[in-house]
Symmetry: C2
Subunit: 397 residues, 2 copies
């Protein structure tokens, strides 16, 4: 790559096959939005879809939305659309509750699939809720949680062997942006007979996941980050088909019943992924997500990942070229294949720098006291945007 | 009341102080909508509020919605608005997940408050999910569920005494529309030291609840029935302030953490009702509910209940006068004070009759094989609507 400059950025933008996708997002003029790992931008098709859902479906069709409008199956239909981005064949993904709720449910179900084993392994430094919920599940089932640094996870599973019931971790580290080897860690779990539960929050929509090919058992995620599903958009859960008949989850609500409208007094789980539904899902948020997913009908996930890796490379090279000696330290791995779609920098004055960036119309994410996180979505971030951030950091530092 | 006729209905409508409220709802012309106990109608302020949330807040403010737009506290702020209709002082209600999720959470928390006791009492014939979740909670905590017919619940609690950990039931029976004595059953529970958990799904918005005055411990409910919050609108949970410091719930997500943005590796629950938050709530659905609640700023719950009782009385008298000998049997109690805002009729040809009603633009709810349920919302149902239903049933039966 040539010397990273404003001109290089413009050249890369001119050659970018995804450049046209930015027009599909309603970003404020002049804003450089590098917080895709917190809340994705609004895509232009969403407002009309949500308005129609409110005014036509709810307002005019009322209770018939569930039948005539086909909304009852929406958790599975939207689930399949998300599933495609997970590398999941249809019928294995359902959209509905928050990531936390889905995670509690499948961690319990996973542990029950391996009853008699004592350990849940979680990633040291992983997203806090994952620890809280693993601890809660372990407590109710009488198990023990061990926190393992991710680079040692596969080895730890092998060492602990048949004591391990469940291995759970994020695909991309939320702080550092490091991408873990889903296939290898899942294989290590399976080699000892354990179940692998992945949190794909910081990966889905940013890179092509291959959950089926990697033989992942369960995965959960949210849809408001790279998928741009909207504020607090519903989470989802993936369960490999081979487990469907044996899933025994604590959140057994009427939507997951085999015959939900019979209102039977006893629980009989639905066959298939529908079993993982709980109660009534928030349909307006679901419809917003459904509209947001339209963008992915017109672009290949491989192209998104290619650009994301290239944006990251340009980011790192620009940092090297322009921020040397200014106190920044790259926290994210330098190799593109080991990154999600995020660059994290350490700086002793991170807080002041982020405030200064905000004043220049650049939005990133601060993790006090000293981390600056920048999540770039290939669909609406350009090389020029990346250069603008680096340039602004040079001026502020 | 004079003989129930079309003319009497018109007179009652002319004298109805709430008649003007119908204009606040966007009901299709000519539709008689008696399914408020399944999905409430769209109020006219909602579409613009949701559109603004999508286009302005999400679209323009992006991640700043949580801070500058004040959305982080929305679960508590909307919770307080719902709480007013529950008879709850502020700071005891939070809106977020589905009723099922909240119920699982508080049933577990309630049972933990009475550890050492063995029994969870649920209402025989209650809403199925409540049974499923009670059974699930009992299983994980090693407890036992007993199903008790509601008329015997208070006596059963007294007989079973200190073995009872939790008593849980719906305030209004979802099938029959019967209203139970929350105060008396809660008192019976407390007299033996048990915790009372109420499901207010079929009551909230239909009648004034008095959870604080009744010393209720916990309550859960949905907002898509009489509250008209929208399809799958978020549920809510009420927890009496005296329990806040001791609530120990299984769904300990990062939103319920004392310092959610510190991303601490260990769980430390928030003080106050915020502890019952779990993960990211679906904000578009939350904003729709928030706008739907505006209607309740302009009308007193007592007036809503008064009209609801009068609509029910007119309904019953019209049935008596016009449907005698046609095979209908009133399932709901005849006394207004023992009803929610619902009339349920038994008829051997219920399915055929409901289809015929639908063809005449009347929407009710069928519970196969033989129950016809009609939920009337005082805010948009008139006495003429009620008469139309009875008249149509006379013609169809």
């Amino acid at each position: 790559m040539p010397h990273p400059s404003r001109e290089t950025a413009r050249e890369l933008d001119r050659a970018d096959p995804l450049a046209g996708m930015r027009g599909r997002f309603a970003l404020p003029d002049g804003l450089v939005y590098l917080d895709a790992n917190s809340l994705g931008a609004l895509s232009t098709g969403v407002p009309a879809a949500v308005h129609r859902a409110v005014v036509e479906n709810w307002g005019q069709h009322l209770i018939k939305i569930w039948t005539d409008d086909g909304w009852w199956d929406m958790p599975q239909r939207v689930g399949d659309r998300v599933g495609r981005l997970l590398g999941a064949a249809s019928g294995q993904t359902v959209v509905g509750d928050s990531t936390s709720v889905h995670l509690f449910n499948v961690l319990t179900a996973a542990a029950r699939l391996r009853s008699g084993r004592q350990l849940i392994l979680t990633e040291e430094g992983g997203f806090p809720t994952n620890h809280y919920l693993a601890a809660s599940v372990a407590r109710t089932l009488g198990l023990e949680v061990r926190r393992i640094p991710m680079p040692k996870m596969a080895a730890a599973v092998r060492t602990l062997g048949e004591r391990v019931a469940v291995v759970t971790a994020g695909v991309v580290d939320f702080r550092t942006g490091e991408l873990w080897d889903v296939s290898a860690i899942t294989k290590a779990a399976h080699d000892t007979g354990a179940i692998a539960v992945w949190d794909v929050c910081h990966a889905v929509g940013a890179l092509q996941l291959t959950l089926d090919a990697d033989s992942v058992d369960f995965a959960v995620g949210c849809s408001y980050k790279f998928l741009s599903g909207g504020p607090g958009a519903p989470g989802f859960v993936y369960a490999a088909r081979r487990h469907h008949d044996d899933i025994d989850q604590p959140l057994c609500g009427w939507h997951g019943h085999a015959e939900p409208f019979e209102m039977a007094a006893d629980y009989a789980p639905a066959t298939g992924i529908g079993r993982l539904r709980v109660g009534s899902p928030n349909m307006l948020s679901m419809l917003a997500l459904n509209a947001a997913l339209d963008v992915y009908d017109d672009v290949d996930m491989t192209a998104i990942r290619q650009k994301s890796v290239a944006l990251g490379e340009f980011f790192v090279e620009s940092i090297d070229a322009h921020l040397a000696g200014l106190g920044f330290k790259l926290v994210t791995p330098r190799e593109g294949c080991r990154r999600g779609s995020q660059i994290t920098l350490h700086h002793p004055d991170a807080e002041r720098i982020m405030r200064a960036l905000n004043k220049r119309g650049i939005v990133g994410d601060l993790r006090p006291p000293s981390l600056l996180r920048f999540g770039y979505n290939s669909l609406y971030i350009s090389y020029s945007d990346i250069f603008s951030v680096v340039e602004a950091m040079r001026l502020c530092a």
